[in-house]
Amino acid sequence: MRLTAHRRLNSLAVLALPLAWTLLFMIVPYAIMLAYSFFRKQGFTFVPDFNLANYALLIKDPQYREVLQRTLKIALTVSLSAMVLAYPLAYFIAFKISSQRVRLFLYMMVIIPLWVSYLLRAYIWKTILGSEGVLNSFLVWTGVISEPTPLLLYNQFSMVLTLTYIFVPFMFMPIYTALEKIPRSLIEASWDLGVDPLRTFLKVTLPLSVPGLLAGFTFTFCLSFGDFIAPFLVGGPTGTLVANVVQSQFGIAFNWPLGAAISMVILLIVITIISISDRFERAGRIDMG
């Protein structure tokens, strides 16, 4: 009896700080943000209003609806592009490299860019794609085009490219982990049964790598959805994303309640996506037996 009581006390002590911190610096701030989203801007202060005016504005005003749709579209495009690039790379490293040392080396090669400043990885593309940039001057120098083109930068293409560049390693990591876990015997069994490699891939390998794809998708989608740095650097006027709008509501536009409402929408979208991918992943696990 005393021992279990002692143990319970111990685990409570271990838990106290994390629990208090989470409560004070996550749950309370989210609650305050939720409260603020029902406030109203009045002159230079915010007063409680307790209605859904801010949310209604987000739905009614085509300006905000457009930004939200654009952000969803771009986050989706980025996630799919990163997937298309990361999957074959992960597959190649997991299945075609037999030496474990080389596999580890290549794995590190792919994820090392994650450690190199996020800001710089976005900024690089500004300097590459700009009209005074590396790519333009290269094309002029080699005579492919006669004068620099401004078409490469400050549009949705440059933003998708930049965000894809940033998130390929994020996408790669969970996919690789999932592929590496697949027992080779399952694939060999499929071959031995006369199933050709393509169908083996579609029927065995691909389904078993779904958890990795889901995790990678969740990361990439949510994080690119809430990014304001890449749009600031390479997005241009048509490339404003939802996080830029939040940023300006807490800056120049100075409408915290509206900014809080948009943030609540972002929070909700992120939580929804995590929950969906969690459910799918769990279903996948049961399928595997």
Partner: protein, 284 residues
């Protein structure tokens, strides 16, 4: 065996050969894609490094000539040096804070059951996928309401909160692999709980601990979205770079970028060593 059954030896060999040829072709194609994607990841970084030594204030090809001017200017830039000092200050304390919270949280999730555990896990892991801007502005609103002035200390609290999940996941993963019998053996042999913790548990999670602390340090050093909303008058290095980018491009940025790349490589090599090591015998 198959050769004695329905298929002749030659047929089986033929199928095997065709399969081998086809798999050679697919390996080649996959290899080509892998090379392309890796070049996509590395060419921009190489461009950045090369241009930090180029004697021209715009980034155009062909290259002009070799110079160390940008590095010289960098080290004469007091504002930037101050930002670097601030970043070290913030990253150090954010790492300490996040470790102090993340490690007990990992233990709690690994070892004890308590009401609301599933929700606690959900919330504490949220910053892994939650864009930093949400952490930043939600804390900004709280500090504002409490009448806190924004400073590097509020940035530290923000980073601490955003990075707990990093330390938590790494340490938790190691604890899951850790064989609890080692602890039982220790207490059976008369070890007190704190002795068991210091001599058995800690050495087994040490590398995950140090590795994840290093990771938290680099992420904090690099952080913008949370810092953007929680800093007062002082700037961290990435915030300083961010504000100079607003004004326009200078090749000094390439120089500092090159230094960051090289320094991060150093940290990565150390943390890989640490995260992969199972440095004590009870590791598996």
């Amino acid at each position: 065996m198959a050769s004695e059954g329905i298929f002749s030896t030659r047929e089986v060999a033929g199928v095997a050969l065709r399969r081998k040829r086809r798999s050679d072709a697919s390996t080649l194609a996959l290899g080509a894609v892998a090379v392309l994607v890796l070049s996509f990841l590395y060419l921009p970084v190489i461009v950045l490094i090369v241009f930090s030594f180029n004697d021209n204030s715009v980034m155009t090809l062909p290259l002009n000539g070799f110079t160390l001017d940008w590095y010289r200017k960098l080290f004469a830039n007091d504002e930037m040096l101050r930002a670097i000092r601030n970043s070290f200050y913030v990253a150090t304390f954010a790492t300490v804070l996040t470790t102090l919270i993340g490690v007990p949280a990992a233990f709690a999730l690994d070892r004890s059951d308590f009401p609301g555990k599933a929700i606690f896990r959900r919330i504490v892991l949220l910053p892994l996928t939650l864009p930093g801007i949400i952490t930043g502005i939600s804390m900004l609103q709280m500090f504002h309401l409490l009448g806190f002035n924004l400073s590097l200390q509020t940035v530290i609290m923000g980073h601490g909160t955003a990075l707990i999940a990093i330390v938590l996941t790494q340490v938790y993963a190691r604890l899951q692999r850790f064989n609890r019998r080692w602890e039982e053996a220790s207490s059976d042999l008369g070890g007190r709980p704190w002795q068991t913790f210091l001599l058995i548990t800690l050495p087994n999670i040490r590398s995950a601990l140090v590795g994840s602390a290093l990771l938290a340090f680099t992420l904090s050093f690099d952080e913008i979205p949370v810092t953007f909303f929680l800093t007062g008058r002082e700037n961290t290095l990435p915030m300083y770079i961010y504000s100079t980018l607003r004004r326009g491009f200078t090749p000094e940025i390439n120089a500092i970028a090159t230094i960051i790349v090289v320094a991060s490589l150093g940290v990565i090599l150390v943390s890989i060593r640490l995260l992969r090591n199972t440095d004590a015998p009870g590791g598996r």
